[in-house]
Symmetry: C2
Subunit: 393 residues, 2 copies
C-alpha cells in the first residue's frame, strides 16, 4: 500500500458569465485558454486526467460524451482518468471531488476539473422544459414543481413557520449582487440591486421576485489539482482539500421531509466538518448555493451558523456580510454571477483559491482567510454537496 | 496521511437485458432488488456512497439528476459520495472507477456502482437521433458519422489494409452469441447465430450486417465495492481492482489518427497493465467492448494479443474462444447481451466477479481464472477505458 496523498487546488480561472454568444465547445475552449494563462507553469502534457462537470449538455447543447470534447477544446490529452460527472446544479463540485479522489488514491497526479454549461439557446422554452427533468420528471417536474415553484414553497413555509419576511430575502439578494460588483466575470457586474429596486421586481413564484432567482446563464470555470509533492512549481498558495460530505435523502417530493429543515445538508456538513477536523466557527468564508435567496437563508441554519428559523434575521443583521459572523458568497453568489449549472461549483472553488491566497479584489477579500467551505445543492434540495478547503498560510 | 486502501468488488447483479417493459426508474429499482438478493450481507445503511453510470437519461428518459433517483429506487441513502458518471458507452466502467477512487482515497467505505440505461422508447427515431450526439454533434453526428457508419469505415479500412474478411467478423459474432446462450440475462439468450445465418442478415452499414452490431437495449447492473478490511462479511472471493487506464485522444473525427490502430487503447492498456504489474499474457479472460464485431478484432491488436492486422485471423483461428490464447466476452459480449450504454461496463464487472470466483455457468467458466481485464470504448473509439481485476485464489 502507498500513502493516501494530500491534494490541493493550485490554480483556476473562469470566463465571463452571462448570455454568451458562444457554444458549449467554445466556452470550453475559452476557459482552457484562461486556465493556461492563469497557471503559467501548467503544461498540457502534464495534465493526466480531466473531470468535466456539466448538467445537461445533452439537452441544452444536444451533445453527450462531453469529456473528450472538452479535452479537445482545451488542448488536453488525458491518459489516466477522463470522465464527466453529473449532479445537476452540483455537477461542478462533483468534478472537483472526483479529481480529489483520483489524485488521493494515486490514479492521477495532475488533474483539471472544468465545469461548462450553455443554457441560453434559441428556444428558451426548450431550455426551461429541460430544467424540469432535474426534478423527478414524471411526478414533480411535469406537475409544475420545477425550481422556482419549489423554492417558493420553501420560502412560503419559512415565512409561515418563522415569520421570515420579504425584506430578509432582499437582504440576501442585495448582499450578493453588491459583491458581484467586484467581480467582472459575474453576469450582473455593474448592476445595482438595492432593496427598493428588488421590491419592485416582478414576482416569479410568490414570494420570490426576479431578484430572488439565479439566472439561466452560460459560463465555464476550471481548476488544477495536484498532490502535495507536485504543488511547488504551480503556486506557493495552494488551497488544500480537507473535508468532503454529500447526502442524498430522497428524489420524489412525496418522500421529502421538512421543506425548511434541510436534513441532508446537516448530514453532508457533519461529514465534511468531521473529515476536516474543524467546526463552523473555524470558517473564514463560505460559498453557499444561493440558487434562490431563500436557499441561502435555510443554509445558514442547516450549516449551524444560527438556530432554526433565524436565517432571515441572520441576513437582515448583516451577519453573513463583511464584518459579520461569516462572510458568504463574496464572488457574488449564484444570484450575482448567474448559475451555469456545471460551472457554478468550479467557479466557487476558484473564488476560494483566490481568497485563501489573499488575491481577491480588495472590495471582497476576507482578511486572513484560512478556512473556506463550498456548498452546492441540487434538484429539490434533495442532494447536498460540501467541500472544505484550508489555505497555505 | 493514511494509507491508500486496497479495493475489491464483493458482489454484483444484473437484470434481464432486452426490450423491457420498464422505465429507467423501474430498471434501477429492479437491479437494486437483485443486488440485495445477490449480496445477502448488504445493508442499505452500510452503503455510504452511490455512483450511477448512465449515458443519456436526459434524452432517452427525459430525466436528469439520476443519482438521487437511483438512490431512492434502490433504497439507498448515501451520505458520503453520490454522483452520476457519464462517458457515453463507457459510463458504467466510469462509475466503478469513481467508486474505486472514492474508497481507495478514504472518502467512502462501502459503495454501490450501478449502471442503468433505457434505450427503447416510444420514438425510436428520437432514440437514434440522440445516439448521434455521442459523436461530435455539429460536425460528425449531423453528417452521418454515427456509430454504425463509423465502425463500418473501420471495418472497410481494416479489410483494405489487412485483407480482413466478412467471415472473420462473423467468427466474432458467432462466438459471442454462442456464449450468450449460457447467459439467461443476455438479450439474445437462446437465439442461434451460426455463420450461415449471420451471412444472410441484412446489411446495416456495409460490411456490417445486423449480427455485427450490438443492439439498443434496456438494462441495469450493479456491484458493491469496499476496502480490504471490510471484505470478509461480504464474500471470500473478492475481485480486487489492480489496474486502471484511460485515454482521450480526440473528439472531432478530423483530428483522429489511424482508423485501424487505436492508439488511445494502447495508451490505456499500457497504463492499466503498468499499474497492475502484469502483462497481456497474464490474463485469464477479457471483457472487450464488442459494440461491433470489427471492434473486437481491432481490440485484440491494440491489446497486444496479436500483431497489427492479424485480429481477423485471431478470431478465425479461435484464439479468443474457449481453449484459445485468451477467452474474450464469456458473458456474450455487447453483441450477445445487447448494449444498454451505462449498464454494459457494470455487467462486464459482474461477469468478472463471477468468473474469478469460479461461479460462472459451466458452459463459460474459465478454469482457474485469476486475472481479468475489462475494456470499454466510447464515441468514435476516441476514448478507451480499461480496468484489471485479480481473483482471491
Amino acid at each position: 500500500m502507498t500513502e493516501r496523498r494530500e491534494v490541493a487546488i493550485v490554480g483556476g480561472a473562469t470566463v465571463k458569465f452571462g448570455v454568451r454568444d458562444s457554444t458549449w465547445a467554445e466556452l470550453a475552449q475559452e476557459v482552457g485558454g484562461a486556465l493556461f494563462h492563469a497557471v503559467p507553469s501548467l503544461r498540457s502534457e502534464s495534465v493526466d486526467s480531466l473531470f468535466v462537470g456539466a448538467a445537461e449538455p445533452e439537452r441544452f447543447a444536444f451533445q453527450s460524451h462531453v469529456a473528450p470534447l472538452a479535452a479537445e477544446q482545451m488542448g488536453l490529452t488525458p491518459h489516466k482518468v477522463v470522465q464527466r460527472t453529473e449532479l445537476a446544479c452540483a455537477s461542478g463540485q462533483s468534478a472537483i471531488r472526483s479529481a480529489y479522489a483520483a489524485i488521493a488514491s494515486g490514479l492521477s497526479d495532475v488533474a483539471v476539473a472544468v465545469g461548462v454549461e450553455k443554457m441560453n439557446i434559441p428556444s428558451m422554452a426548450e431550455a426551461n422544459t429541460s430544467m424540469a427533468c432535474v426534478m423527478d420528471r414524471p411526478w414533480d417536474g411535469a406537475h409544475g414543481a420545477t425550481a422556482p415553484p419549489f423554492f417558493a414553497m420553501v420560502a412560503q413555509r419559512h415565512m409561515l413557520e418563522f415569520g421570515t419576511t420579504e425584506d430578509a430575502l432582499a437582504a440576501v439578494s442585495e448582499k450578493n449582487h453588491r459583491f458581484a460588483n467586484s467581480n467582472p466575470h459575474a453576469q450582473f457586474y455593474e448592476k445595482t440591486f438595492d432593496r427598493a429596486k428588488l421590491a419592485r421586481m416582478p414576482l416569479i413564484a410568490p414570494p420570490l421576485r426576479l431578484g430572488d432567482c439565479s439566472s439561466m446563464t452560460d459560463g465555464a470555470a476550471a481548476v488544477v489539482l495536484t498532490s502535495a509533492d507536485r504543488v511547488a512549481p504551480f503556486t506557493d498558495t495552494p488551497a488544500w482539500v480537507r473535508g468532503s460530505g454529500q447526502s442524498s435523502d430522497f428524489h420524489n417530493l412525496a418522500n421529502a421531509g421538512s421543506l425548511t429543515d434541510w436534513v441532508g445538508m446537516r448530514h453532508a456538513a457533519r461529514e465534511a466538518f468531521a473529515s476536516a477536523g474543524i467546526g463552523p466557527k473555524d470558517l473564514d468564508l463560505a460559498e453557499l448555493h444561493d440558487c434562490f435567496s431563500i436557499s441561502e437563508i435555510v443554509e445558514y441554519e442547516a450549516l449551524g451558523l444560527c438556530a432554526s428559523g433565524e436565517g432571515g434575521r441572520f441576513a437582515l443583521e448583516g451577519r453573513s456580510d463583511r464584518g459579520g459572523d461569516l462572510v458568504v458568497n463574496t464572488r457574488g453568489g449564484l444570484l450575482g454571477c448567474g448559475h451555469p449549472l456545471g460551472a457554478t461549483g468550479v467557479a466557487q472553488a476558484v473564488e476560494v483559491f483566490d481568497q485563501l491566497a489573499g488575491r481577491a479584489p480588495a472590495a471582497r477579500q476576507v482578511p486572513d482567510a484560512h478556512w473556506a467551505l463550498v456548498h452546492n445543492l441540487s434538484g429539490s434540495a434533495n442532494v447536498h454537496s460540501i467541500m472544505i478547503y484550508e489555505g497555505a498560510a
